[in-house]
């Protein structure tokens, strides 16, 4: 993989693209959260990434691992709600896996650590209608595509995004067991999970940046 400064620039570009996408999808996410939650997911994510983008200048001096960690702590410090600790805490903790730079190997380790931390914090199993349902197929597919199918990381990541998309769609017909949507009981069936959706948007933007 490329050297640190190239990685840093790519990471910063990805972060900026993610932030722009979140801003553009703010009301989509909030509307999804209106249906089965409390109508703030778009605002929460937007507030977090707005704060992240304000730190971009500082990123120029940082290693990729530190950048990811800072994104995590910034989200923790600005978002609140369930998505704050889930996104922020997991980024912060999984960033350790990138301390030796971003390689095919470390990116798998990062993805696995991130998923583990989300599941741990949120205590959500697969099928509970949360972001875990988007993340799990994506992480499984990414790891398998590289380790078993020997695909290049970019191709593997494109497959992972497809997998996440199917995960998001899977959240629609099932009953929530975690998060606010769970309080709705059977009424949560038929609605798409906001957190799974924002996870997909983020992954799509990372892919788009990498492809450029």
């Amino acid at each position: 993989m490329a050297d640190e400064s190239v990685q840093r620039e790519a990471l910063i570009a990805a972060i900026e693209n993610v932030a722009a996408r979140i801003e553009a999808e703010k009301s989509t996410l909030t509307d999804l959260d209106s249906a089965i939650g409390d109508a703030d997911h778009g605002n929460n994510m937007h507030r977090g990434f707005e704060a992240v983008v304000e730190k971009v200048d500082e990123f120029e001096e940082m290693s990729p691992a530190d950048i990811v960690k800072t994104v995590g702590t910034t989200i923790i410090g600005n978002v609140g709600g369930a998505s704050g600790p889930l996104y922020g805490g997991s980024l912060m903790s999984a960033s350790q896996e990138l301390e030796d730079g971003i390689t095919a190997e470390t990116s798998i380790a990062f993805a696995e650590a991130y998923l583990e931390k989300v599941k741990d914090r949120g205590d959500a199993h697969l099928g509970a209608k949360t972001m875990v349902d988007a993340l799990t197929p994506a992480v499984h597919t990414y790891k398998k595509s590289i380790e078993h199918d020997d695909l290049p990381p970019l191709t593997a990541f494109a497959k992972a995004v497809d997998a996440a998309e199917r995960g998001v769609e899977f959240t629609v017909p099932i009953r929530a067991a975690k998060g606010r949507a769970s309080f709705l009981g059977w009424r949560s069936v038929g609605h798409q999970d906001p957190g799974a959706t924002s996870t997909l948007f983020i992954m799509q933007e990372i892919l788009k940046t990498a492809e450029e």
């Binding site: 410090g77 998505s83 606010r180």
Partner: protein, 331 residues
Amino acid sequence: MKKLVNDPSDYVDEMLDGMTAAYPDRLRRLDGTKVLVRADGPVDGKVAIVSGGGSGHEPTHAGYIGDGMLDGAASGEVFTSPTANELNEMIQACDAGEGVLCVVKNYEGDVMNFDTAAEMAEMEDIDVAQVVVNDDVAVEDSLYTSGRRGVCGTILVHKAVGAKAAAGGSLDEVQAVGEKVIDNVRTMGMALTSCITPEKGEETFDLGDDEIELGIGIHGEPGTERTDMMTADEVAEHLTENVLSDLEVEAGEEVVTIVNGMGGTPLSELFIVNRKVQELLDDRGIETWDAWVGDYMTSLDMMGCSVTVCRVDDELKDLLDADVDTPALKD
């Protein structure tokens, strides 16, 4: 959207400034945060009681800061748990060396952020304990939920633990009082209308003119059930029956009741509901030791109400009766 608001993104910030402007002798804002604390705190020799959660539930939480109740309250954005960082700052600012009890409502966001904050504070050698309120009987506690939600019963927890702390209780004793209230309090709510959050500017759910939501929480989320419009008596009966059967109160027992408004309900209607609630309790031989009627924990401009019943013994009666002096609750 019809609101008295400037830039919606300043909503919480300006509300907090408006509170400290109203009660400069009582409330102090921690610089650069959305945390309010007692102006005369930390109070020497006393366990601190802190609470927090999303905004939009006023007078919850900051309205209950004062003698005999809370030492601090953290306000998140509307309906969004405060960040762990702010919760940590609050815990640190309120600790007087005797430890801090966090009163948390059972929402994953609140629980996760309070957990993280407690970890942070413990690293600074502060004793932190937690009680998690989950009084909402609308949500069955099953494989399919993260337990029940914490709603209006939280106010009674604040009151009782606040009194215990003021009376010199240790952190363990104060926590035990909190658990006792939680074991004995149940609530159920309903909505006539959705609320409108300042950022979204529209109803969070659409409700027909002849429909209501039963089993709502306090965040503008839809309820567990949508039904046809009911009379005040039918509403009172539905909520009270559900609460009583979950709590398993028996004839001869004493209770505190709360008929709580969701923010947009006229007080007159809450009294109409209270009339029926008291009639139902009377019919069952249950004794209302105290009845609260008003807006204690709201959802912005939502119309609707909740009914809370809390079983009380002599200890809880003393604590709920103890002196309290806060903007929203006085004895």
